[in-house]
């Protein structure tokens, strides 16, 4: 899976993109976020307030129960502030 991070999530995690292989039991957006939190303090800190984290799967806004698999592009970011 291709993971992308933007804005302060990118700063807190320390990278903007990475390729990962999901554990077999992770198959939805909520699972990805929960799994990422276990990967280190930087992830745990960045995703601490996960209610405000927005997730897009293949460049479309997703919900916690949106299914994901290893071929997907999943992006995590804060609420948008453009315009």
């Amino acid at each position: 899976m291709k993971l992308l991070y933007f804005a302060w999530l990118k700063q807190k995690i320390g990278i903007g993109a990475e390729e990962v292989t999901l554990p077999d039991e992770v198959n939805d957006v909520a699972g990805v976020v929960a799994w990422l939190k276990t990967r280190g303090d930087n992830y745990a800190t960045a995703l601490k307030d996960d209610a405000i984290v927005r997730v897009a799967v293949n460049q479309t806004y997703a919900k916690p129960d949106t299914t994901v698999s290893n071929g997907d592009e999943v992006a995590l970011f804060p609420p948008v502030t453009g315009g």
Binding site: L4, A7, Q59, T60, F77, P79, V80, T81, G82, G83
Partner: protein, 154 residues
């Protein structure tokens, strides 16, 4: 049409290009967003706009198509810049053209309200205390919510 670009744009030129050759247009509405000086003139208050290439274009295209479904538009144009911008610089432009003013004005407001709450851009402000990410405003969600259709969460 939509464009996401680093470079500045010329509103007059974009207006001419949207309306030239279409005499069915009776009303052209515009919104132009500028970088506001948050430091009140006391030092640097430039900002850097980060975006999600690919998803940004996809989202703006979807919002543009939705405006054309909801209003009888003769044309529309959205431009959003990214990169570092100084106070006074143009960030965003929305143009909508229709036979009559109401469709042009309403669809223009719809597009900028939806863009602000949906399009994946993030502002990093330079302040005297260092760089700081701008927080999303609940009032922007309220502004966008007035365009939601009954029975949807968009």
């Amino acid at each position: 049409m939509i464009r996401v670009q680093r470079e500045d744009f010329d509103v007059g030129e974009e207006m001419r290009s949207l309306t030239t050759g279409n005499t069915g247009i009776g009303g052209l509405a515009s919104f132009v967003g500028l970088v506001r000086d948050m430091a009140g003139g006391a030092g640097d208050s430039a900002m850097t706009l980060e975006h999600y290439p690919g998803m940004t274009e996809r989202l703006l295209t979807e919002i543009d198509e939705e405006a054309h479904r909801r209003w009888p538009l003769e044309g529309s144009m959205m431009i959003h810049r990214h990169g570092r911008l100084e106070p006074g610089e143009q960030i965003v432009m929305v143009l909508t053209a229709s036979a009559h003013r109401q469709a042009a004005l309403d669809s223009c407001a719809f597009l900028i309200d939806w863009l602000k709450t949906q399009a994946p851009f993030w502002k990093l402000e330079e302040t005297p205390d260092g760089a700081s990410w701008v927080e999303a405003r609940a009032s922007d969600d309220v502004a966008a919510a007035r365009w939601a259709k009954p029975g949807t969460d968009g």
